[in-house]
Symmetry: C2
Subunit: 251 residues, 2 copies
Amino acid sequence: MKNIILLGSGNVATHLGIALKNSNYTIVQVFSKSIKNAKLLAKKLDTHFTNDLTKLKPADLIIVSINDDAILSVLSKIKDTAIVHTSGSIGLDVFKQKFTNYGVFYPVQTFNKEIDINISEIPFCIEGNSLEFEKEIIEIAKALSNNVVNMNSHQRKQLHIAAVFACNFSNHMYSIADELLANNNIDFKILLPLIRKINANLENYRPKEVQTGPAKRKDTAIIQEHIATIKENEIKELYHKISENIIKYHE
Amino acid sequence: MKNIILLGSGNVATHLGIALKNSNYTIVQVFSKSIKNAKLLAKKLDTHFTNDLTKLKPADLIIVSINDDAILSVLSKIKDTAIVHTSGSIGLDVFKQKFTNYGVFYPVQTFNKEIDINISEIPFCIEGNSLEFEKEIIEIAKALSNNVVNMNSHQRKQLHIAAVFACNFSNHMYSIADELLANNNIDFKILLPLIRKINANLENYRPKEVQTGPAKRKDTAIIQEHIATIKENEIKELYHKISENIIKYHE
């Protein structure tokens, strides 16, 4: 499995393509529906490109890194080849009807084309439709990363929900804090030392062990005072609901 | 203002006492209602100790670092001296009836007696009852930290609410993720590279600018699927409410 076609030219395809090339895999072709983007990435990888799915070259493996909602229509135009997708939220069975060897090759990270990342630290979650094929794609993942995990589609869905809480929702908590502070002419950066400390704790403790704050202390006087002070109704409600959940979780 | 009494022997008092001593202030005495704790901290600071508020020595400044709910009763037993407290949630006016020079000296950090901290990076929020006295306590704060900010009691309350969102609530989002993963035999550590990335973003961007995820993309199909997949009702509701708020916030 040394000759690989990349379907996609976005953030994941770009970082994967470069990492695979650096690990002595050959990217034989880049496909993108935008010929300009296909050409741009192909140039970086010193390879061929196309925007026509009927003109894919022979390859050992196709890696599909396109938007979730475009996957089905793209798959309908490809002939049976060993194939994986890189999506956290699409199941393995998207390939079932048509392909013989298929799998999922999901890197747990947010990618940005412009920002360098150290791919060797990124966890890769791997699932194959057979033990044999799974072994082959695990080998590729291990050439890229020191952090390769077997994970079935059910677990991957749970991981995706957990990542929404741990990354998207925690970031939104920062946004709410930023807005509360901006409304009172205070720079959000005043919280950075505290945020750094909270996150450093995660390297050594489970988050439940290092929870602090009024809800953890069941300090209802402060909780009521905070809720009364917050002006926006939705933020009041979030403060109330999350505090309730913390109190219940630490009973 | 070189001779200081510490009222309290907990995490904040301990770190402040050591930092003040290192900056050539003299801790003339440590008070704690527990004579054992008073003695322990006094030994570290090479000074006197007491558990009797009627036996405080003469000093230029008293720093009160005790539990919020004990402050009023302690203040009732002290004679008029220049005085500050270190609490984020207690107002300046707790001192009003009895003292001539008073203020707040609030370090924005979670302290732990056992863990070393770099006090020079911790933001100190300062408020004094007169410009003159404020200047004097700002000078002390600047001897300890490079990050000293003037902040009135109203702003400090807003900062405290913001810190609850940015630190306590984001940590609870990690706890929820940890539990979802543990229920499916997945180690929370798989999310650490992603969490590190999200937090590194805060050093250079406002949190709103780097928000990602299904709610940010208004991907209602994934949101509905996640809510249907989550088993616990309270967690379903939190997913729903926070997603709604993200969608509204990014309209």
